[in-house]
């Protein structure tokens, strides 16, 4: 469950400008999406929280976190049914990603 830039670098195919652009987008989008998810969850707005999981899971995919991506698919679906059992694991995943992105 360790994030990496393999997928982004494959697409970049040597293009530093694309790689930097993606890093910039991740740095700007991820923290606000994480914050939005936590707020929605704490306010018990599970449908909105599921919307944010949908956005966040794409970023997990971009960072080549296949298991985390698969977990997020199930968690998004569970949240729509107000099932919150995956919350703490999802938060752990988000914290791992946040730490990785901060160091980019």
């Amino acid at each position: 469950m360790t994030p990496n830039l393999k997928y982004i670098r494959q697409l970049a195919d040597g293009s530093e400008s694309f790689e930097n652009k993606m890093k910039g987008i991740l740095k700007s989008e991820f923290p606000s999406e994480k914050k939005h998810f936590i707020q929605a969850y704490q306010n018990k707005q599970f449908s909105e929280a599921a919307e944010m999981v949908h956005k966040l899971k794409h970023k997990l995919g971009m960072l080549n976190m296949k298991q985390a991506y698969m977990f997020s698919i199930n968690f998004e679906s569970a949240l729509k049914d107000k099932n919150t059992t995956g919350y703490s694991k999802f938060i752990t995943i988000l914290e791992i990603v946040e730490e990785f992105i901060t160091e980019l």
Binding site: S15, I25, E29, H58, M62
Partner: protein, 232 residues
């Protein structure tokens, strides 16, 4: 081929843009964070391909497709594999890519567009010459003057073609007949209704009076209708 990207996530747009740079035949002419901006663009410009996200706030990718009278070829890009079945309901959708999109898979989708473009152009040429529509009613092919049709209503597995000379019930779908009608004259104004815009008597909020029929206009189709009218 002229292409646009419609996706609310900047990261997703950047990835599709990068994938497009690897295909010489593609010219990316616009990127939009929501469907409404893309619709405004398509009212002025023609494109061959739309890379369209399904899951967007307020106006989904499917809402976007429903709004377009003649949608260009569409490649859906989504993180949600559950919509794949819905995609089969739209003839304009040529492929369905799940995020994160692999480069090889993207290339395969592009190949499908090229094949699709050729077929679509041939079909349009044939349609432009047609003034009459032949429909199968009780094992007879009945000729209907297209200009005499003022509305078509979907009724389960059937449609009712309403003309100035009477109504005809035919076993087909609204989508199939829509493909046979000239786009300059006919417009889908509701999930269950297509109208001949030249026969409109008046419009009030969410309904249209045509002949003696009051036809509902859905919110998602209202903009397309208003753009079609010569408003003072």
């Amino acid at each position: 081929m002229r292409a646009i990207i419609v996706d609310d996530e900047a990261a997703a747009r950047a990835i599709v843009e990068q994938l497009c740079t690897k295909v010489e035949a593609l010219e990316l002419v616009g990127e939009f964070p929501n469907a409404m901006q893309a619709i405004k663009f398509l009212n002025k410009e023609s494109v061959d391909v739309v890379f369209l996200d399904i899951h967007m706030p307020d106006f989904t990718g499917f809402d976007f497709i429903e709004t377009l009278k003649n949608p260009p070829q569409i490649i859906l890009t989504t993180s949600d594999p559950n919509f794949a079945l819905n995609a089969f309901e739209y003839a304009c959708i040529v492929d369905y890519l799940t995020k994160p999109i692999a480069q090889e898979r993207f290339q395969k989708a592009i190949q499908k567009i090229k094949i699709g473009s050729t077929i679509k152009n041939e079909t349009l040429t044939i349609n432009n010459d047609i003034e009459d529509l032949y429909v199968n009613i009780d094992r007879r092919l009945v000729k209907i003057k297209i200009q005499s049709i003022y509305a078509i209503e979907a009724k389960g597995d059937y449609i009712q073609i309403k003309t100035e000379n009477g109504n005809h019930t035919v076993h087909t779908t609204l989508k199939k007949i829509e493909e046979k009608l000239p786009e300059s004259l006919f417009l889908k104004v509701h999930r269950s209704y297509i109208i001949n815009t030249s026969k409109i008597i008046d419009i009030e909020d969410n309904s249209i009076l045509i002949q003696k029929d009051v036809i509902p206009v859905s919110r998602s189709n209202r903009d397309a209708l208003m753009k079609r009218l010569n408003l003072l």
